[in-house]
Structure formats: C-alpha cells, structure tokens
C-alpha cells in the first residue's frame, strides 16, 4: 500500500472576532488521502466545511487562526511555512481548490485566458506568455472545452456549467496532488452536475489530480463520487468510514438523521417519509462540553450533554458517539 500524499493531523482552527470572541470552527480533524483516493466530506452549512478548506491549505488570513495540529503534503508539513513560500510552492501547485464556480469566483473584468495566465505566472515568473497561452489551449481542449472561445471570453459570457468547467480547468492547471472541491456542483442542475463529476473523474484518471477532498451536503452524490466519507458536525468529524459503512449502515445518530432526511425520485412512493433534522447546529462561540449533536439528537441520553465525546471505533469505522454500537 502506498503512503498517504495528504495528511491532516488533529487540526484545529478558530476565528477571532473583533470583540475578542473565539469561534472554534474546526476542531480536532484528522484524516489522510492516498493517491487516487476521493474522500467525501458531508455536513450541513455552518459545520465548518468551508473553514476546513483554508485550514487544510495552510492559508490563515485573519480573523482565521491556526490553533494546533499539522497538515502534510507528500510527507512535508505546510504548517508554519513562510507565507510567501506557501503561496508560491504549495497553493495552486501542490494543493488546489475548486469553488462553486457559478458564484463569482472569476474576476468579472478579466478574460479567462488572463486569469489562467495570472495563475501560472504567479508560480513561475520566468514562463513565456506565449508558451503559457499555448499550454492553456492544449489543457482546455484536453478537458473537452472549446478552448479558443472559452479562453477569450469574459466570465459573464459563459453559462453556469461552462463557468464551473473553467474554474476546474484553472484550479488544476499545475497538476495539484490534492484538490479540495467545495460544493462544486450545488449551483448546477442535475444534468450539468453529472457532466462536471465526469470531468473530475477524468482529471483523476489522467493523473492530473492526485487525490481529492469532495465537500458537499448531498449524501447521495457522495455515495457515487467518493471512496470514503467523513461526516462533519459543528467543526468535528463525527463519523468516518467507507461508503458501505457510512451511507448504508450509519452508526452515528447524526448520520442516520442525515440519511433519513434525503429525498429521492423514489421517496414519493417509499414507506419511509423523509424527515428533516429540526433545529440548527450549535453556536461555536460558546465552548460545548458534551456531544455537540445532543440538542437535536433523537436518541440522546441525559449524560450525552456532559461527557466529552471522543472518536471510537465501532464496526470498523470512526464514530464520535459514546452510545453508538
């Protein structure tokens, strides 16, 4: 078995608000990725998924701060690295990210070609512009896009699906070993979503992307995209295991509730009616002693709110619940 190319070790990150409040948005997250592997991260909004992106990339821009922990790419720690060195050698090059492209992720007043060139020149100042343009054309064509049209367009001229492909194209220009995809399909219709996932798979199969962290709140999507799944709640990973384990046999009450809330084409005439999870995730500005899901948990017991929950191994997967079995 090959050694992991991406390791996140007990990572904790917090925001410091102007009023001196500390919000622990990522708390004790650990996982690792091997070459060719896709790890899905599931959770509802406000669970810390988006903070995890910056935290994993070693980009701490105030008010976000590192509390503790380590992130290693190909065995080398990127935590505590000089900011400029991290920018030049790591960000976009070793580890890259794919945002929700239909949002305003592309500078509206710059052509796709120029944005992509900026990205390459930022990491290789000596590159020749014309060669870079040729390289761009080749790469975009390889990804099945009408390269000349797309590269010479401004973002507003592209439909949402194409914008998302462009974002993927730019993010993966430097063949990153790790890619973090943050809800890359949630603004797209189902058919475009499928096309975008195909593109990501192709990038993995061609070796352009080494490994991927796929963040979404759609569990059915993760079931088809990822190899393993980590479920996040209130800044922590509460259950992590294979598809078989997490999707088809969840042990953590939160994962069970998530699965129970999903709608599908068959759900109209299935006996089980989907049930939404009532309430909202806890406010992380106040430290929580016990289980963070206890407030909303349908099977919570009196001591769940008091006992600090630690990761246990239940049926071969990690679960952060003292009563899971």
């Amino acid at each position: 078995m090959s050694s992991p190319i991406f390791e996140v070790d007990n990572l904790r990150a917090h925001y410091l608000t102007r009023f001196g409040q500390k919000i622990q948005a990522v708390d004790g997250v650990s996982f690792s990725l091997k070459a060719g592997e896709i790890l899905g991260i599931a959770g509802e909004s406000g669970c810390g998924k988006t903070t995890l992106v910056s935290a994993c990339m070693g980009l701490y821009i105030p008010p976000l701060h590192l509390s503790s922990g380590d992130v290693r790419i190909e065995g080398k720690s990127i935590i505590g690295m000089n900011v400029e060195q991290n920018r030049r050698d790591i960000l976009g090059r070793k580890i890259s990210m794919i945002p929700q492209g239909a949002l305003n992720s592309l500078n509206p007043t710059r052509k796709v070609k120029d944005l992509a060139t900026d990205m390459i020149l930022s990491h290789d100042e000596t590159a020749d512009k014309r060669q870079v343009h040729a390289r761009l054309r080749e790469r975009f064509r390889k990804l099945g896009m009408p390269a000349d049209d797309v590269l010479n367009s401004y973002p507003v001229q592209l439909p949402a699906g194409m914008k998302q492909r462009v974002v993927i194209g730019i993010s993966t220009l430097l063949d990153p070993r790790v890619v973090i995809a943050d809800e890359p399909t949630s603004a797209l219709d189902v058919s475009t979503q499928k096309a975008v996932i195909r593109l990501l798979f192709e990038l993995m199969d061609q070796g352009i992307i080494g490994s991927m962290l796929f963040i979404t709140h759609e569990l059915p999507l993760l079931r088809h995209v990822s190899n393993n799944i980590a479920v996040m709640y209130a800044g922590e990973i509460v259950e992590m295991g294979t598809i078989e384990q997490v999707i088809f046999d969840p042990r953590m009450p939160y994962t069970q509730a998530l699965m129970g809330s999903m709608l599908s084409a068959d759900s109209g005439h299935r006996d089980q009616k989907p049930v939404s999870i009532e309430g909202a995730p806890p406010n992380l500005a106040h430290p929580i002693q016990g289980c963070r899901f206890a407030e909303r948990c349908p099977v919570a017991r009196p001591d769940c709110k008091e006992n600090q929950q630690v990761i246990r191994i239940v049926k071969d997967r990690q679960v952060r619940c003292q009563y899971a079995e």
């Binding site: 980009l59 991290n86 960000l91 976009g92 890259s96 945002p99 592309l106 974002v167």
Partner: protein, 356 residues
C-alpha cells in the same frame, strides 16, 4: 439594420438621449433667469443716461432694446411703439427663438453689465483661471484620493486608522468653511500666502515670468481648499469599493490558488476604479461651474466670479452663456463615461449586447 452592431446601436441610442437632455437643459437655461421681471435695459440706462439729453437717451435705449431683441421691429427696422409711445416688448417665446438662432450661429450676444463686451470674450478671459484652478485639483486629487483609499483598504491597520478619519474630516467640511479657514490662518494670521485675488494688483495677465510667479503664489490657497476636499471624498469612496472587492469570491479564490498579491491588488484596484471613473467624469463636467464658492472666497477671476456678478446684475446673456457652457461640458463628460465604462467593463458590455 443596426441590430448587427449592438455597440454602435447603443452609442447612437445614448447620443440621442443626450441630445434630448441638451435641448431640455438649454430651454431651462434660457427661461429660468428670465422668470424675474427686472428689465436689464433700465439698469443699463440708469448707468449711462446721466448727462444725456432725452432724445439721445431715447436713441440709446432703442439701440439697447434692439440689440437684446427685447422689442418688436417694424419692417423698416425701427422700434415699434404703442399708442403711448412705449416700445412694444417681444414675447418670451420670440426672444427664445432669437436666442436659439444666435446660439446655433455660435453667437452668445453681448453682456449687459459690461456692455459692449461680448459674452464669449468674458468667458474666454475667465475660463483659463477656472480651468487652472479646477483641472489639476480634480485630476491629481482624484488620483491621490484613489491611491490612498485603495492602500487604506488593502493595508488596513494603522494606516487605515489614520487615513480614514482624516479623509472623512476633509470631505465633510463644507468647501466655504475650509476656504475661509485657509484664508484666515495662512492668509491673514500667518500671512504666508495672499488671501484674495489671482495675481498682484500691479500686473496684468501676460506670459511673463513675473506674472506666472505671482499667479502661482496666489494659486496655493485656492488650490489647497479644493484639492484636500477632493482627495478626502475620493479616498473614502475608493476605500469602501476596495473593501467590497477584497471580500468577493474571486479574490478569495485567487488567494487560495496562490495568485500573487500584486495581481490581486491589481484586480481589486481596477474593479473598484470603474465606478470611480464615473465620479471623475462628473467632476470634470461640473468643474466649469463648480468652483463658484472657492472663487468667491478668494475673489479669483474665474468663471464662477463671472456668473456671480452676472446673476447679481441680471446680466441674462452672460448667465445663459455660462450655463450653456456648463451644460455642454456636463453632457459631454457623462456621455464619455457611458461609453468608456461600457468599453472597460465586460459586465456592462454584455448587458448592452442583450439589450437588458
């Protein structure tokens, strides 16, 4: 036919609207000052009639009335008179027709107060002073203000904490207060700079070294009084535009891709600058009429002073001439911004193309 050239169609469409605006503005320019019922010829006669006998006074009055198109003429070119022997006044409408006809020929008529000086002559003499005062303050003030604002937004911290309140203060002080303050402190108390005027009394405008030195010396206070206000206002606007741009998704994305800070700074600056350009063009457009208060405080011999004295003396041709100039410059400036922003901003270009 034009549908194949959406940009041209857009420009022509805009031009049409600007022309309509121009016509409306010209009409208002004409009628507004004439709404009062003061008769300028009476004012002029009061000045010149002393020492004239009745016949020659009457002749003089007739020539004035004829010159300003205020009376009906009979076919032989003489002033028509009613039964009491009073000249028959033309209607406002026919005065307007006369004015439009003259304007189209480029003739702005002659001033009433400074008769027989032509309006165009007066404007020509005053305009360089106004331009010299306004153009550098607006252009350099705009540039400096935008750079300061962008830096404050980007660097934040101490620089921002110092710059922001100072800019707020500068832009919040009314222009006349600031001007008077400068006059009082540097002109009267400290006597570092002359308090009023455009050049030394003993000199007359010429391209001599002595005159330029004198004019520059007199220039300092009026320049500062406008400049600092422009810098402050622009800096505040640019700062908030940049803060907005820095918070956008595309900036975050570029940072996560390791794009160089200088590039991100350039993205921010350029995108924040687009709305600021509109501000610049508007300032340039209104600059001809905009320095009224400053020129009053410093008794600066520019257009503002000319308009002021014209209004005080019911000098219609001069008022209308000056406002016409202001109207034209404002419209040209706005039109250029419309076209320029359309060229620079692909979002607006796309909107023009789809006609939304």
């Amino acid at each position: 036919m034009l549908n194949q050239y959406p940009t041209l169609k857009h420009i022509l469409g805009r031009a049409g609207w600007y022309f309509v605006t121009f016509l409306v503005a010209v009409t208002i320019n004409f009628f507004l000052p004439r709404l009062g019922d003061a008769n300028p010829v009476d004012t002029m006669m009061a000045k010149v009639s002393a020492g004239l006998d009745t016949a020659s006074a009457k002749e003089k009055e007739e020539s004035y009335l004829k010159e300003f198109g205020l009376v009906e003429l009979d076919p032989s070119g003489h002033v028509q008179r009613d039964a009491q022997g009073k000249p028959v006044r033309t209607t406002l409408a026919s005065q307007f027709a006369n004015y439009v006809g003259m304007s189209l020929r480029g003739d702005l008529g002659s001033s009433i107060l400074q008769h027989p000086k032509r309006v165009s002559e007066i404007i020509k003499a005053a305009l360089p002073w106004t331009l010299a005062l306004q153009l550098p303050t607006i252009v350099f003030g705009w540039l400096l203000g935008n750079v300061l604002g962008a830096l404050a937004a980007y660097k934040r911290g101490v620089f921002d904490q110092l710059m922001y309140p100072m800019a707020l203060l500068a832009s919040a002080i009314p222009a006349f207060c600031f001007g008077i303050l400068l006059v009082y402190v540097f002109g009267i108390r400290l006597e570092w700079f002359p308090a009023v005027g455009g050049y030394d009394d003993g000199l007359s405008p010429a391209l001599s070294r002595q005159f330029i030195a004198s004019a520059s010396y007199y220039y300092v206070l009026p320049f500062l009084s406008v400049f600092l206000i422009v810098v402050g206002g622009q800096a505040i606007g640019m700062r908030s535009m940049c803060i907005y741009e820095l918070g956008t998704d595309y900036v975050k994305y570029a940072k996560l891709l390791g794009v160089k800070e200088s590039k991100i700074l350039f993205y921010m600056f350029r995108n924040a600058m687009l709305p600021q350009l509109t501000g610049l063009a508007l300032a340039l457009g209104t600059m001809v009429g905009g320095a009224l208060i400053t020129e009053m405080i410093f008794s600066y011999p520019g257009l503002g002073m000319a308009v002021l004295t014209a209004i005080q003396g019911n000098d219609y041709p001069l008022i209308t001439g000056c406002t016409l100039l202001v109207t034209v410059t404002v419209l040209i400036a706005n039109f250029s911004v419309d076209i320029l922003v359309g060229i620079l901003d692909p979002r607006i270009r796309a909107a023009q193309r789809t006609g939304k």
